[in-house]
């Protein structure tokens, strides 16, 4: 209880909810880059037809990435300026930060790939595609583990 209460204050509630909502839409639109939602009837559910529109999911994925980048920078800067003397990152916190960093870096490289005239090699692009997908799968499993076993990102010093 104490840890929960303490942990709830290291990141404010609005920021936490914004992070969760952004993550949800990023995962949803990210999986939407594969042609699966139409095939498996998800896009047939009223209100979810947009999940089969690749340019729409792509655009929303970019918007989500902008919000995630801003949130990540905010949380890192806030931690370094105000929190690091009173809070420590836990092992699972480090793992999740490493995975998120990998997702942001591979995602940023894929954004560069999508610009006109980008010159990344075909082999590297395949590596990026698979890395981005692999990292999000691992991140989801780690997040599920942390949720079930109540592993927090930080702990009080």
């Amino acid at each position: 209880m104490n840890q929960n209460f303490a942990n709830a204050r290291v990141i404010s509630r609005p920021v936490r909810w914004m992070y969760l909502a952004t993550g949800f839409f990023l995962v949803l639109t990210g999986f939407g880059q594969m042609p699966i939602f139409k095939r498996y009837y998800i896009a047939d559910i009223p209100g979810l037809g947009w999940l089969a529109e690749f340019f729409v999911t792509h655009y929303i994925h970019y918007l989500g990435a902008i919000v995630l980048l801003a949130l990540a920078a905010y949380m890192v800067a806030d931690y370094l300026m105000s929190k690091r003397n009173s809070w420590n990152l836990t092992a699972s916190g480090y793992v999740r930060i490493a995975l998120l960093t990998g997702l942001l870096v591979s995602g940023a490289l894929l954004v560069i790939r999508n610009l006109t005239g980008s010159s990344l090699t075909a082999g590297f692009i395949i590596f990026l595609d698979l890395t981005h997908l692999g990292l999000v799968m691992v991140f989801l499993f780690v997040s599920l583990y942390c949720l079930i076993f109540k592993k927090h990102w930080t702990t009080r010093r």
Binding site: V15, Y59, S119
Partner: protein, 325 residues
């Protein structure tokens, strides 16, 4: 208290800045996205010269026959059952549309030129976009763009999800079920064959040869060269014949530039359109909207840090005020 400060600082400062940047569009992104027109090769297709003899179609089939699908039958049972089986293996001779076995076809248009009814014939195939959405948004990197502007689909990697066809403004790629990598992974549950389209004879081009359709044409309908030079030639030809250009701006620019003696609006009305028979409508740049957000991604961390710094100083001021009281 901490939560209120955090919410104000972050939401008002950081997110407003990021959203503003995202909504406004970023000056300079266009320059960042400028194609290297000296490296990409484009083709100029002079529609007024084409006689519809189909020598290009035959040459294409002959040269690319080894790349055509050789599906394994019976096809895996698809799950769910609504996933369409697309089998062209028994219809390999179809040449009046695009198929996995026919990457180039001749489109016919009855138009009026100088008061005379005239039939124009138009070679149609992949446009080889300067920034091809089929390549850029392929989830596996199975589609790729070569430095010389050719976009091609690697039949050893493609899973046949047909995303490229849906993304393509002209719906060019065509699927053959029962072939490719998906057969070795989850043949019923994921994938559905391989997508096929013109690869502008990339192996011949790499060896300094012409694409087969260009070499075989008895009328010299097509010319190939660096994109900037081809664009100049297209404009010169258009001026000469008082004609019209298609492909220079479509989808942000393509490497297939058509010049026609009649407006493309008329041609588009006159040609038969439908499955495997692409239109000639104007096409907006499909990759531009998302790419305009790219620069906002560079600014987003700055906005986040600014919000954290704002919160820090606001906190400090609040504490100072509290201690003074």
């Amino acid at each position: 208290m901490e939560q209120q400060i955090s919410r104000r600082s972050f939401l008002k400062g950081g997110m407003a800045a990021a959203a503003g940047v995202a909504a406004a569009g970023i000056p300079g992104t266009e320059a960042l996205a400028a194609p290297d027109e000296s490296k990409q090769l484009a083709t100029l297709i002079d529609i007024s010269k084409c006689v519809g003899c189909e020598a290009c179609v035959d040459a294409c089939s002959e040269v690319n026959a080894a790349k055509y699908p050789n599906p394994r039958k019976p096809f895996p049972k698809m799950v769910p059952s609504r996933v369409p089986v697309e089998d062209w293996s028994e219809k390999q001779d179809v040449n009046d549309r695009l198929t996995p076995y026919n990457w180039l076809f001749i489109q016919h248009a009855e138009v009026e030129i100088n008061g005379e009814d005239t039939e124009l014939t138009i070679p149609r195939r992949c446009m080889h976009c300067v920034n091809p959405p089929c390549v850029k948004l392929c989830p596996w990197g199975a589609a790729r763009q070569l430095e010389n502007g050719i976009s091609r689909i690697d039949s050893d990697l493609c899973l046949g999800g047909s995303k490229c066809k849906k993304l393509c403004p002209w719906n060019i790629p065509q699927r053959q079920t029962g072939t490719g990598l998906y057969l070795d992974i989850l043949p019923s549950m994921a994938g559905n064959g391989v997508m096929y389209k013109c690869d502008r004879c990339y192996q011949r081009v790499a060896e300094g040869e012409l694409p087969a359709c260009i070499e075989a044409c008895p009328e010299g309908v097509q010319t190939i060269g660096p994109r900037d030079e081809i664009i100049k030639k297209a404009h010169a030809l258009a001026r000469e014949i008082n004609g019209y250009i298609y492909g220079e701006k479509e989808n942000g620019g393509t490497n297939t530039i058509y010049v026609s003696p009649v407006p493309f609006e008329e041609l588009n009305k006159a040609v038969e359109k439908g499955k495997g028979k692409p239109h000639l409508k104007p096409v907006k740049d499909t990759m531009a909207q998302a790419n305009n957000l790219a620069a906002a991604m560079l600014l987003a961390p700055v906005a986040g840090i600014a919000a954290a710094v704002g919160k820090y100083f606001k906190n400090a001021r609040t504490l100072k005020r509290g201690s003074n009281q």
